[in-house]
C-alpha cells in the first residue's frame, strides 16, 4: 500500500499548496466587505477543474491496482507473462495519439480549423488502433495458453490492461463528441474557433490532457508488465525494511 500512499501524499501536497493560496490564515470574523480574487488572476474553466479532480480519482484507482500488484508479486507462484512484441507497437500508437492531440491543441491556438479536424481524426484513429491492438494482444496470449485464471500474473495483466482500456474507450466517447463539434463549426458563419473560451478549444485541450494522463498510466503499467519495475520494488522494499 506504500504506492497508493505515495500517490496520496502527492495529492495532499497539491491540496496543501492550493489551500495555502486561499487565505486560510485569515480571520473571517474581522473582515467586512467583499473580498475579490486578486486582479489579473483568471480562474481556470470549470470543466478543466472537473477533469483535474477526475484524473486524481482515476489516478488513485490505478495506484491501488499497482499497490495490489506489488503486494501480490511477492508470492511464490508468480510466473510473469512473456511480453508480446505487439505491446511495443501499441505503445507507439498511444504516443502518436497523444502527440496528435498536442499538435491539435497548438492548431486551435492558430485558429486552423482544418488542422484541428485532421488532428482530431488522426488521434481518434491512432487510439482506436491502440484499443484493437490491445485486443489482439489478449487473443494472442489466450492462444498461447495464458488464461486469465491460470496465474495471478495473468489475472493482473488482464485486469490492468482492461481497466486502462475502459478509460481509453471513455476518452474516445469524449473525443468523438469534440470531433463532431469540430466538423459542426462553420467557417463561413465566422465561428472558426473564436475566443479563448470557445467550447471547441476547451474540448481539445481537455482531450489532450486526458490522453497524456492515459499515456503516463500506460507507460507505468507497461513497465510493470515487462518486469522492469521488479528491481524498483526490490529497492523500495529494502529501503523500507
Amino acid at each position: 500500500m506504500t504506492i497508493v500512499l505515495a500517490f496520496l501524499a502527492i495529492l495532499i501536497g497539491i491540496a496543501a499548496w492550493w489551500l495555502s493560496t486561499q487565505r486560510i490564515m485569515s480571520k473571517p470574523w474581522l473582515e467586512i466587505g467583499v473580498i475579490d480574487e486578486p486582479p489579473g488572476v483568471r480562474p481556470p474553466p470549470t470543466a478543466k477543474i472537473g477533469l483535474g479532480v477526475f484524473l486524481a480519482v482515476a489516478g488513485v484507482l490505478f495506484a491501488l491496482s499497482i499497490s495490489a500488484y506489488s503486494m501480490r508479486l511477492q508470492a511464490a507462484d508468480w510466473w510473469p507473462l512473456p511480453v508480446p512484441r505487439l505491446l511495443w507497437f501499441n505503445t507507439g500508437l498511444l504516443i502518436l495519439a497523444s502527440a496528435a492531440l498536442e499538435w491539435t491543441r497548438t492548431r486551435t491556438r492558430h485558429a486552423d480549423l482544418t488542422g484541428v479536424r485532421v488532428g482530431l481524426i488522426g488521434a481518434g484513429i491512432f487510439t482506436l488502433a491502440f484499443v484493437i491492438g490491445q485486443l489482439v494482444v489478449w487473443r494472442e496470449l489466450v492462444g498461447q495458453g495464458y488464461f486469465l485464471a491460470s496465474n495471478p500474473a495473468n489475472a493482473f495483466f488482464y485486469l490492468m490492461t482492461g481497466l486502462h482500456g475502459l478509460h481509453v474507450l471513455g476518452g474516445l466517447v469524449a473525443l468523438s463528441r469534440v470531433t463532431f463539434r469540430a466538423f459542426g463549426a462553420d467557417e463561413a458563419r465566422g465561428d472558426k474557433i473564436p475566443g479563448e473560451r470557445s467550447r471547441l478549444r476547451l474540448g481539445v485541450e481537455l482531450c489532450a490532457i486526458y490522453w497524456h494522463f492515459l499515456l503516463v498510466v500506460w507507460l507505468v503499467l507497461f513497465a510493470l508488465i515487462a518486469g522492469w519495475a521488479g528491481d524498483f520494488f526490490e529497492i523500495c522494499r529494502q529501503a523500507l525494511s
Binding site: 486561499q22 474581522l30 477543474i49 495471478p152
Partner: protein, 590 residues
C-alpha cells in the same frame, strides 16, 4: 482588521458572472429526471430514508433472534448472517453516505455558496439514477435464488465466496455489482460537490467564509472520491475471483476433501483494500455531521462559532489523517506488531483534532443564548453521544485492548454509538432545521420532542448495556449463544431488555415519518428565515427556493456566516449578504 477592497461607496457593483442554467420543460424533467440540485437532494433523501427504514426493520429481526432464539422460525443461522450483512451495508453506504453527501450536499452546497446550481447538473442527475439502480440491484438480491449474501458487511474473502456462506450463487454478485454502480454514481456526484465548491462560489464567498457545513461536506466528498476507488478495485477483483476463477484473494482451499481451483491469493490484500476505503468512510460520514452540528449550535445558541479557523483546520486534518489509520481494523489479522504500533499511534492522534472540535462546540455554547429547539436538542445529543462513542474508540485503538475485545459486542456498541447513533442524530437535527427551507413549513414541535427523547434515551438504553455485554465476553456475529453456561443469566436478560428498547426506538421513528408527511400540508408556515440564521440559504427571495435559487441577481457576500449578537447591530443576526452597517468597519477594527 484586514483591508478589504470596496467600491466607491463602500459597496461593490452588483455584477456576478452568471452561468447558463438548464431549464426544465415538462413535469418529467422538472420532478423526475431533474437536473436541479434541490430536487435531486430530495430524491436522494427520500430514497435513503426509505432504505434506512428497511435496514431498521432488519435490525429488529436480528434483535428478536438474539433475545428470543428460535422464536421466529424463518431466522436460521444463514438468514441471520444475511440480515447482518444487509443491515450493515445499507446503513453505512446506502443510507449515511448517500444522505449526507447526496442529500444534504446537493441541497446545501449551491444554496450556501450563493450558486444557482451545481456546476455539472447533468452528471448530478445521472448520479442519482445510478444510485437508485444500485439500490434496486441490492434489493433485488432478496429475491434471487439463495437470497442476499451473508458474508458480513466487510465481505471478507475467502468465506464471502466459498460454499457455506449464504448467497454464494447470486447474492454476493449482486452485492458487488450494486457497490460498483454506487461508486460510479457517487463519483459523478462527488465531482459536482467538489468542483462546485471550487468554482461555484458567489462573489465575496471566500473559502474562509463558507459555513462549516460546506467545509464538512466538501472535505468528505474529496475523501470519498479518493477512498471509494479502493472498494471498487476490491469489488472488481472479488467479482473476477467469483466469476472467472482468478485468485486475487483466494488462497488454496480444500473443501470436503476436494481442492478448489483457487490458489495463492491473499485474503489480507482484500482487507487492506476494504479498510483503505472503510476507515475514511467513517469520516466521510462524520465530517458532514461535524459541519452541520457546528452550524446548528451556532444558530440555536445565537452565538458565533468558537474558533472557526481551528474548526476548518481540524476538518482538513482529520480528513488527511483518516487515510493512514486503516489497519487498526486489522489488528487481529496477524500483522507485524510494529505496524500495529504505527497504526495505533496514528489512530490516537486523530483524537486531537476531534477533541478540538468538541471543545469548540462546548465553548460556542458557553454563555450563549441557548434555544432548546428540536434541532438544538439533536445537536446537543450528538455532542454527548459522539464523545461517548469516541472514548471507546480510544480503548479499541490500542492493540492490547482491541485484541480481546475485537470479536465481542463491545465493538458493536462502539461503532453503533459513534458511527450509527451520532450521525443519525445529526441527520434528524438537520432535517428539523432545514425542512422549513425545503417545504416552507415547520415540522411539528411536540412530535419532534417526543421523537427526540425516545430516540436519544432509547439509543443509550440499547447501546450502553451492549458495552457491558461485550466486556463480559459475549461474542458478536453469533446468531445464538448456544451453550451459554459461561454467561450469567443476567446477560440473557440484558439481551431481552436491549431488544425491547430497540423495538421501541424503531417504532418511534414512525412519529418522525408521520411528522415529515403531515407537516407538508399542516405544518406552521415558516417564512423565509424561521431560525433567524445568517447563512445564504436562508436569504433566498422565495421559500422554498425556485429553480435558480436566488432570483435575478446572485447575492454578494460581505461577511462570514456567524454574525450573531454583534454589538450595535439592529438585530441579533446579520445575514451574510448584508452590506457593512454604518460604523461597523471601524468598530470591528477596534
Amino acid at each position: 482588521m484586514v483591508d478589504v477592497p470596496l467600491g466607491a461607496a463602500g459597496v461593490p457593483p452588483a455584477e456576478v458572472e452568471d452561468v447558463e442554467l438548464y431549464h426544465p420543460k415538462g413535469w418529467v424533467t422538472h420532478y423526475v429526471f431533474s437536473q436541479d440540485a434541490k430536487i435531486i437532494a430530495v430524491q436522494y433523501s427520500v430514497t435513503a430514508l426509505s432504505i434506512g427504514l428497511a435496514a431498521l426493520m432488519l435490525s429488529w429481526l436480528m434483535r428478536l433472534q438474539l433475545a428470543f432464539p428460535g422464536a421466529l422460525s424463518f431466522i436460521d443461522a444463514d438468514a441471520y448472517y444475511q440480515l447482518i450483512t444487509m443491515h450493515g451495508m445499507m446503513m453505512v453506504v446506502y443510507v449515511l453516505t448517500a444522505l449526507f453527501l447526496g442529500g444534504f450536499g446537493n441541497y446545501l452546497i449551491p444554496l450556501m455558496l450563493g450558486a444557482r446550481d451545481m456546476v455539472f447538473p447533468y452528471a448530478n442527475m445521472l448520479s442519482f439514477w445510478f444510485y437508485l439502480l444500485a439500490v434496486v440491484v441490492l434489493f433485488a438480491s432478496f429475491a434471487v435464488p439463495g437470497g442476499p449474501t451473508g458474508a458480513g458487511w466487510t465481505l471478507y474473502p475467502p468465506q464471502a465466496i466459498t460454499a457455506g456462506t449464504p448467497g454464494l450463487a447470486w447474492g454476493i454478485i449482486m452485492m458487488l455489482v450494486s457497490l460498483m454502480i454506487f461508486i460510479i454514481g457517487f463519483t459523478m456526484g462527488g465531482l459536482n460537490y467538489v468542483v462546485t465548491v471550487l468554482q461555484g462560489r458567489t462573489r465575496g464567498m471566500t473559502l474562509m467564509r463558507m459555513p462549516l457545513t460546506v467545509w464538512g461536506i466538501f472535505t468528505a466528498s474529496v475523501m470519498a472520491l479518493l477512498a471509494f476507488p479502493a472498494l471498487f478495485v476490491g469489488c472488481v477483483m472479488m467479482l473476477f475471483d467469483r466469476l472467472l476463477g482468478t485468485s486475487f484473494f483466494m488462497p488454496e482451499i480444500i473443501e470436503q476433501g476436494a481442492r478448489l481451483p483457487y490458489g495463492g491469493g491473499s485474503p489480507i490484500l482484500f482487507q487492506h483494500l476494504f479498510w483503505f476505503f472503510g476507515h475514511p468512510e467513517v469520516y466521510i460520514v462524520a465530517l458532514p455531521a461535524f459541519g452541520i452540528v457546528s452550524d446548528l449550535i451556532s444558530v440555536h445558541a445565537r452565538r458565533n462559532i468558537f474558533g472557526y479557523r481551528m474548526m476548518v483546520w481540524a476538518i482538513v486534518a482529520i480528513g488527511a489523517l483518516s487515510f493512514v489509520v486503516w489497519a487498526h481494523h486489522m489488528y487481529v489479522s496477524g500483522m507485524n506488531p510494529y505496524f500495529g504500533f504505527f497504526f495505533a499511534t496514528t489512530t490516537l492522534i486523530i483524537a486531537i483534532p476531534t477533541a478540538i472540535k468538541v471543545y469548540n462546540w462546548v465553548l460556542t455554547l458557553w454563555r450563549g443564548d441557548i434555544h432548546l429547539t428540536v434541532p438544538m436538542l439533536f445537536a446537543l445529543a450528538f455532542i454527548v453521544t459522539f464523545v461517548n462513542g469516541g472514548l471507546t474508540g480510544l480503548f479499541l485503538g490500542n492493540v492490547v485492548v482491541d485484541v480481546p475485545l475485537s470479536d465481542t459486542m463491545f465493538v458493536v456498541a462502539h461503532f453503533h454509538m459513534v458511527m450509527g447513533v451520532a450521525p443519525i442524530l445529526v441527520i434528524f437535527g438537520a432535517m428539523y432545521h432545514w425542512y422549513p427551507k425545503v417545504t416552507g413549513r415547520l415540522l411539528s414541535v411536540p412530535l419532534g420532542q417526543f421523537h427526540f427523547w425516545i430516540t436519544f434515551l432509547g439509543a443509550y438504553l440499547i447501546f450502553f448495556p451492549m458495552h457491558y455485554l461485550g466486556l463480559m465476553g459475549v461474542p458478536r456475529r453469533y446468531y445464538e449463544m448456544g451453550e451459554t453456561a459461561i454467561y450469567p443469566q443476567s446477560a440473557h436478560e440484558l439481551n431481552i431488555f436491549i431488544t425491547v428498547m430497540a423495538l421501541l426506538v424503531g417504532a418511534a421513528q414512525l412519529a418522525f415519518v408521520f411528522n415529515l408527511i403531515w407537516s407538508l400540508r399542516h405544518g406552521r408556515e415558516a417564512g423565509g428565515n424561521p431560525w433567524r440564521a445568517c447563512s445564504l440559504e436562508w436569504q433566498t427571495p422565495v421559500t422554498p427556493p425556485p429553480h435558480g435559487n436566488f432570483g435575478k441577481e446572485l447575492p454578494i457576500v460581505y461577511r462570514w456566516a456567524y454574525d450573531y449578537n454583534v454589538p450595535g447591530a439592529p438585530e441579533d443576526f446579520i445575514p451574510q449578504n448584508q452590506p457593512p452597517l454604518a460604523g461597523e468597519i471601524a468598530s470591528r477594527a477596534s
